[in-house]
């Protein structure tokens, strides 16, 4: 399954950093199969691909922002807000609103991303602070709207299909994830925009002095990340057949972890989408195997943290050596 998609034509993208999470994933599955042979079953693996897709789509958007040397902490409530918008419209019973549910949710994500981008580029507020504030504001708006109860509404058939459907027994969610990742990888590799984006992560001043509208590039990346968060929200709502408060909260740190485990430097510049796909797979499988092992939540958290630290340590040591 690691060879399903290689979004890059350049071998430089498929380096040891980006392959590491794939190797880790395989080791996890093989290791677990000695005790739990069911992890090798097609059903289990296909289910994991489906679940990994939610995290993977978030990580794809976050990769762009992290490559710039920024971070988007508004992921949880952008996701949640988009889910609420989509389910509210899909549950309205109005044909037109139902049809517009997904585009409206994605538009919501784009708007949040644009606000993030403008705050970071024009007001020059560090993205870590700005997006955290955005997350909090979105939470507040959502609570005001719903009175703190789970929002009314339901997912549309399309949303459910995106999250849980299959095509030729391959989960649709996985195909969506791969499509988004491939499209973004092509954007990064084949367009001037992608070149600018990677260059800004290394040295924003030099890029600006080369005659590039760096504000546009950064804002664009936040918008793409916002749309990705919204898309994950739509799919997650489709998966649960509803939107609920704090549905995005468990995704924030795994999203960042997936990107960083995939070899993208948290300081910007180095890395890419191929690694992030592996990172999302690794984290999903790790989570799943830890729960299959039926150990206590406390130990699960500890083991999860230690393994992620070990991966990052390995990446760091390798770069030094």
């Amino acid at each position: 399954m690691t060879t399903l998609v290689k979004p890059s034509q350049l071998p430089a993208w498929v380096n040891i950093e980006s392959l590491l999470p794939y190797i880790g994933t395989i080791l996890l599955i093989v290791g677990a199969s000695f005790t739990f042979p069911q992890v090798l079953s097609i059903d289990y693996l296909s289910q994991q691909l489906q679940i990994a897709a939610f995290l993977g789509i978030l990580a794809a958007g976050a990769t762009l922002v992290i490559l710039l040397g920024h971070i988007d902490l508004s992921v949880p409530w952008t996701l949640n807000g988009a889910a609420i918008v989509a389910t509210a419209m899909a549950g309205s019973g109005n044909e037109i609103l139902i049809a517009c549910a997904i585009p409206a949710a994605l538009l919501f994500g784009a708007v949040v991303g644009a606000i993030n981008g403008l705050g970071v580029t024009i007001l020059r507020i560090p993205s870590m602070v700005w997006t955290l504030a955005m997350n909090s504001i979105l939470l507040g708006i959502s609570v005001l709207n719903t009175g703190g109860f789970n929002p009314k509404g339901e997912s549309s058939a399309t949303m459910s299909w995106l999250a849980s459907g299959t095509v030729a027994s391959i989960p649709v969610a996985f195909l969506v994830w791969m499509t988004i990742s491939t499209a973004l990888a092509l954007l990064m590799m084949r367009t001037g925009y992608g070149r600018y984006l990677r260059s800004i992560g290394f040295n924003e001043r030099a890029v600006y002095l080369s005659g590039v509208s760096t504000k546009t590039v950064v804002t664009g990346a936040f918008m793409i990340a916002g749309v990705c968060s919204a898309f994950a929200g739509v799919m997650l709502a489709g998966y649960a057949n509803q939107a609920y408060q704090s549905m995005g909260d468990p995704f924030l740190l795994p999203t960042i972890a997936a990107v960083v485990i995939g070899g993208t430097s948290i300081l910007g510049g180095r890395g890419g989408l191929f690694g992030s796909i592996g990172g999302a797979l690794f984290i999903t499988i790790l989570n799943s195997i830890l729960s299959v092992m039926q150990i206590s939540d406390a130990w699960r958290s500890i083991v999860f943290g230690v393994i992620i630290l070990a991966m990052l340590l390995f990446q760091t040591l390798r770069k030094r050596g």
Partner: protein, 508 residues
């Protein structure tokens, strides 16, 4: 001084290789107390590697370093500092986010891990005042200082460590000549106290003024060591490049009759740093900008390129108004501005990316150019003879001079009408300088207007057709022809009126 024949620092049979590249090959070198020993050579000749070996940054692959006659093995710069070898590096080693005071105390004697003691500070203040640094406050953050001010702080930081051997590696490259003179006075005072000084500079007149002995390096080997004055200028250049360079500067060209103005500034200003400034560059002209640091000349270049908000006045390029909205507008073909920034390492290039990627960055935003077509960079790269191990390697693998060639080629691919250069040859070897000078002259003849800011007055004299000297935000004198002399440049830089009229007195 008790044992005058014992060198303070010497190396014997030192070889240093980085992979396949041999940076130093079987080098013997001595530095005696009470002498200023200048090291000359092109970029990549091994000068910086020599300095780093002596100051403990690099360990030699083979051979031995001696401190006062005893063989030593340095594990790092701290070991070298313990025997009194203090180095002021070419790459500034100040921490940008700390204040001047904190930087001076970093690793200074008497300030250990515990409480910071300010014992060295009065001395530092005194030294800083001696080299025109009165305006540098200890409380200022280093990131707020100009490059020249940073170098002044670096000089002081090295001196307050009471060195036995002081290594100055391109330490004065951003300083203007009057500050350099004062730094040299300090260095001479140190020498007279018995300190050995190792000095790297690319400016011949600085070496002539300061050095007692000169060693020339080429391709990792020491070619010769001689007393200052024993060899003439052209012999030294021949030793450095291993071939004859008759002329460092291309001959000036008499402008064509009826040459059209390419760039015209009309009352261009950015209050309060740049006062209303007007001048014209005609086809075929190279115009110089000189003056002390921070007199508005570098701000003016940034303003023309559109980097500043709220500039006033008019910029005309080939008679039409240029937008002042920023680099993206400035680089379009209808405007045709190109700007070579002062700090090529940080502002001109993305060090971690490949040479190719760096070349493409400026052309990418131009719809009329295909940035991935490498034929648009090739003429400039060939013209400048870029030395590289492959265009896919990171630009950081190149020497300083070759990095500047990449910056130039990146912008020349856009065929700019006006080329703005901020001190493009700072810290670059003689051969590359010559290539850049010849290229600039050629471009001028082809009709590109060239505006060259320089801290090296030889460039302002020999390369430029006219030089405007800035003082306090405005042009105080425009020098051309016979008037374009070192004395007039220095006089105008200090805003001494009518130096030319008192030339006889100044000479006397």
């Amino acid at each position: 001084m008790t044992e005058p024949n014992l060198p303070i620092a010497s190396i014997k049979g030192v070889t240093k290789s980085f992979g396949a590249t041999i940076a130093l090959q079987d080098v013997d070198f001595d530095c005696y107390p009470g002498e200023v020993h200048a090291v000359l050579g092109e970029n990549g000749a091994g000068k910086s590697t020599l300095m780093k070996t002596i100051s403990g940054v690099l360990a030699p692959t083979s051979g031995t370093v001696f401190a006062q006659g005893k063989p030593v093995t340095f594990k790092g710069p701290a070991d070298a500092m313990a025997v009194g070898f203090v180095c002021m590096y070419q790459e500034l080693s100040l921490v940008p986010d700390l204040t001047v005071r904190e930087n001076l105390l970093l690793g200074a004697p008497g300030s250990g891990l515990g409480r910071l003691k300010g014992g060295a500070l009065p001395k530092a203040r005194e030294l800083l005042d001696q080299i025109d640094g009165e305006h540098i406050r200890f409380g200022s953050k280093v990131s707020d200082l100009t490059l020249a001010e940073c170098q002044q702080v670096e000089v002081v930081k090295a001196l307050i460590r009471n060195p036995k051997l002081l290594i100055l590696d391109e330490s004065t490259s951003a300083l203007n000549s009057s500050v350099v003179d004062k730094v040299f006075d300090l260095v001479r005072a140190q020498r007279d106290l018995g300190v050995a000084i190792l000095f790297i500079s690319h400016r011949f007149h600085e070496i002539e003024a300061l050095a007692d002995r000169i060693s020339v390096f080429r391709n990792g080997q020491r070619v010769e060591t001689f007393r200052n004055g024993d060899q003439d200028y052209s012999t030294i250049i021949n030793m450095m490049v291993g071939q004859r360079i008759d002329e460092l500067f291309p001959p000036k060209v008499i402008p064509k009759a009826g040459a059209e103005p390419v760039l015209e500034l009309r009352d261009f200003a950015w209050p309060p740093k740049v006062k209303p400034t007007s001048f014209t560059i005609k086809e075929g002209q190279i115009i110089g900008l000189g003056g002390l640091d921070g007199q508005g000349q570098s701000t003016l270049l940034q303003g023309i390129f559109g980097l500043l908000k709220g500039t006033q006045g008019t910029i005309l390029i080939n008679g039409s108004d240029a937008p002042k909205s920023g680099p993206l507008a400035a680089k379009q073909s209808d405007v045709g501005l190109a700007y070579i920034p002062e700090d090529r390492k940080a502002d001109g290039l993305i060090q971690a990316q490949s040479i190719n990627e760096n070349l493409e960055l400026a052309a990418l935003g131009r719809s009329d150019l295909n940035a991935t077509d490498h034929n648009i960079y090739k003429p400039s790269l060939d013209r400048l003879e870029l030395k590289h191990g492959g265009l896919d390697l990171p630009v950081s693998s190149l020497s300083g001079g070759n990095q500047q060639k990449v910056v130039l080629a990146k912008w020349l691919a856009l065929a700019p009408k006006v080329l703005l250069l901020a001190d493009p040859t700072r810290g670059i070897d003689v051969k590359t300088k010559t290539q850049i000078y010849a290229l600039l002259r050629e471009l001028a003849e082809q009709g590109t207007a060239i505006l060259l800011l320089s801290t090296d007055y030889e460039e302002l004299i020999h390369l430029c057709d006219e030089t405007h000297i800035f003082y306090d935000g405005g042009i105080v004198r425009s020098l051309r022809g016979e008037d374009l002399s070192a004395q007039n440049i220095i006089g105008a830089s200090l805003n001494i009126p009518d130096v030319a009229d008192h030339k006889g007195i100044a000479d006397a």
